[in-house]
């Protein structure tokens, strides 16, 4: 965003009824469009083998049995997309979706929490970074220092935590930035910067949500509506350029098929809502969906799968250019499996993230190798040809 916001000024301005967000929105019509990046974290270990289905792999059905996905929507390179992902499949047809069938974080762990930490903090090993790589990318000048970042949900995910200011938003706000109490609290929080800064950012975002979207209450389970609401917070000159959001519930140890059907449909609706809500900005948007690790290649004893290693990573958005699969396919032959049980990763998720940050947000290579993803110099950015 273009302002470095003085909180008190903002709140004072807001109380006069002229929200800065509103001013920004009006001026946006003449402003140049900026690139948008959305990072979706699928928490709980999304089963990549059910998302990007290796339909031509001779071992897939043998390993998965009744869990093998039928009716996959055809992709390139002998893969298919889970049938619940119709929007994403449509994007693939337009050349606006690409997939990496066997990606993973750089550390081999099967703990959700350790792995999510690594996925979000961008470290080379366990417990090396306290802040998130997306926050460090903002500090490293992603988007020429004008980027405003936002996470969705009451809690700020690790990926966006750090020194660069970010905000967070979830539906259901009632307090308005112009309320007198908000500026009193800024004074009261002088000696508690954590509370002071975060409340100011939260109110600013809430203000913007109301100006852009009117009612910020969204019906429960209206995933497309949530996608549209998030998209509204990304449009206009005050809109966020970088958004992180989480979709939970992928830990399918038992009765996997019906659960995945529901989760994937929700994910697809979210993307449809984002696309619709972003309007013209969609052409400048890249969206990446990643998970902490994949699941066992074989079905377990309870019609589910246990914690594994490689999983699928998806890229979508108007800024994505056509291309085949990203990375290689290791195959599912017993000898090819990682530790005899998991899809072996052929691609480090960081190389995709680095490609996005370089080509889409303009973060330079040295910063990517050193500061954003410390110790990752050997993982070259992939994904050429973003808009």
């Amino acid at each position: 965003m273009t302002l470095s916001l003085n909180r008190r000024l903002f709140l004072a301005g807001a109380s006069s009824g002229v929200g800065l967000a509103f001013v920004g929105q009006a001026s946006a019509q003449t402003g140049e469009g900026r690139n948008k990046l959305i990072v979706v974290i699928a928490r709980g270990a999304m089963d990549g083998l059910s998302v990007v289905v290796p339909t031509n792999d001779p071992d897939y059905r043998r390993l998965r049995g009744a869990l093998a996905v039928e009716g996959a929507l055809p992709l390139s390179d002998g893969f298919g997309l889970h049938p619940a992902l119709a929007t994403l499949h449509g994007l693939h047809g337009e050349g606006r979706m690409r997939f990496a069938p066997a990606a993973a974080i750089p550390v081999r762990v099967r703990s959700h929490f350790d792995a999510q930490d690594v996925l979000e903090n961008g470290g080379e090993g366990l417990r090396q970074q306290q802040d998130g790589w997306l926050n460090r990318a903002l500090q490293a000048g992603g988007g020429a220092g004008r980027v405003k970042a936002l996470s969705i949900g009451a809690q700020t995910p690790l990926i966006l935590r750090g020194a660069a200011e970010t905000s967070s938003w979830a539906p259901g706000g009632q307090v308005k930035g112009e309320d007198r109490i908000a500026s009193l609290l800024q004074d009261l929080y002088v000696q508690d910067p954590l509370l002071g800064q975060n409340l100011a950012r939260g109110l600013e975002t809430e203000q913007q949500a109301m100006l852009m979207g009117g009612d910020t209450r969204i019906r429960r389970n209206d995933i497309a509506g949530l996608g549209q609401a998030v998209a509204r917070l990304m449009t206009g000159s005050e809109g966020a350029d970088v958004v992180a959001l989480s979709v939970d519930g992928w830990d399918t140890h038992a009765r996997q098929a019906p659960q995945l059907q529901i989760r994937l449909r929700a994910l697809d609706e979210l993307i449809a809502g984002l696309r619709q809500g972003l309007g013209e900005d969609w052409s400048r948007t890249a969206l990446v969906i990643a998970t902490e690790f994949g699941r066992t290649a074989r079905a377990n004893g309870t019609a589910g799968t246990d914690h594994g290693t490689g999983s699928a990573l998806l890229l979508a958005g108007g800024a994505v250019r056509p291309g085949g699969m990203i990375g290689d396919w290791p195959g599912l032959a017993d000898a090819a499996l990682f530790e005899g049980r998991d899809l072996a990763p052929t691609l480090d998720v960081r190389s995709v993230f680095k490609g996005l940050l370089r080509d889409h947000l303009g973060v330079d290579r040295a910063a990517l190798d050193g500061r954003v993803f410390p110790g990752s110099a050997e993982e070259a950015p992939v994904v050429e040809g973003l808009a």
């Binding site: 928490r43 996470s151 967070s168 979830a170 007198r180 009193l184 609290l185 975002t205 038992a254 004893g301």
Partner: protein, 487 residues
Amino acid sequence: MRDQAELQAAIAATRFALGARPGELARIGADARGWLEAQIRPDGAPQPQGQFVSSEEKTRQFSAYNALAGQAAQARERTAPSEGMAGAADPQAQAADEARRQGRRALQQDTAREFLARAQLGATSDAGFAERWALFWANLFTASATKFQSAVFLGPYEREAIRPHVFGRFEDLALAAETHPAMLLYLDQAQSVGPNSPLGQRREGAGLNENLAREILELHTVGADGGYSQADVTEFARALTGWSVPRPRDDRPLPRRAAAALAGEPGPRGFVFRAVQHEPGTRAVMGRSYPAAGLDQGQAILRDLARHPATARRLSRRIAAHFVADEPPPALADRLERAWTGSGGDLSAVARALIAAPEAWAPQPLKVKTPYEFVISTHRALGSTPARLQTLAPTLAAMGQPLWAAPSPEGWPDTAADWAGPDALVKRLNYAKAVGDLSGERVDAAAVAEAALGPRLTERTLQFVRRAESRPESLTLFLMSPEFQRR
């Protein structure tokens, strides 16, 4: 001296407990440590009040619900393919499905009522430290309402598996938690079948599920860096096969011996051990060998993990981080660990060590309250009690802590960064404004603030509270003040 005693009473009520009710600081009086220690009781933490059923009765209710669900599914299958017209639903199938839905709603409402009773206990209890201590252990052994099967059991889980054991030996608490239907269903243990067990040999596709075994190692005992491998996880999972819950099909007509074998051995609190699905053989976990012993095999491994030094170290630090600071003083964690190790994992000794530790009494409030602590301490400050779930549930959900629905087996997070994000603070302000609007006219917020925080109330906040332009605003400012948001 008097000032010091008042400060200690305020710290006892706020940092160790759930906040002071009106007059409570005076009742704590000069012996804050004594007040806390008196809450350590061998029979555990106090129980929520209400007409609630036992774990065993709950397993019967759940089986009855599963039977309804089975009938609904059968009715659907019977009618669906033969009907040519879409939408022409069979009345029988509709009725069966309606019965299923009603059954589900009733079970969910029972759990919600139990949550309300627990919140009411938190708001009114004279033993706020025992309550916080119980909440800590319930969170360590998280079973979450994000999964319906688990949600059904959360009330009896906390009442019967957690609260009675929180001042006993850790291994007994661990055993009660891991064998409860809430946990066995949440982490998929109930269905895990040993591939070489009689059932595994007969039933195509039945097999191991390692979810509970992994989370016991990673989250409940030694921790991710506790020195175990994937092979240990798998071995432990094999040992745990057979740990299960009653199922509706246990009642179906079968030859008596077969039925008895499938039904398994009932244990306490709705637990069932099914030898028929237990993996035979010796197991090796973290360098120790465990001979075949049925149910006892998994129990022996669990007890060893509970007694492991890595468990004592990890959980001591976690207690310190929960009660005192996100980055707790190492000396405090060391004290707790020594108490843990020296007592063989006696949690009452660990609680006493926490109370005795000088680091736990530092005046500065560092921890940001969880949403639940914020809401409960607000009720306590006002001398009120949450009366309606319709208010409590959306309030907590908006601040990021929906009823008993931790997002993962890791439980609720525990740092300021987790709870005081931008949106979360907006939602806290929503709530504080609503409380101000509702109650502000009836109370003197300055008096409320002084009664709730004693010497922990800063002059600055008191000034803001006094200078507010209206009574509702005054109360809202107090509730949002740094010293009420923290503890």
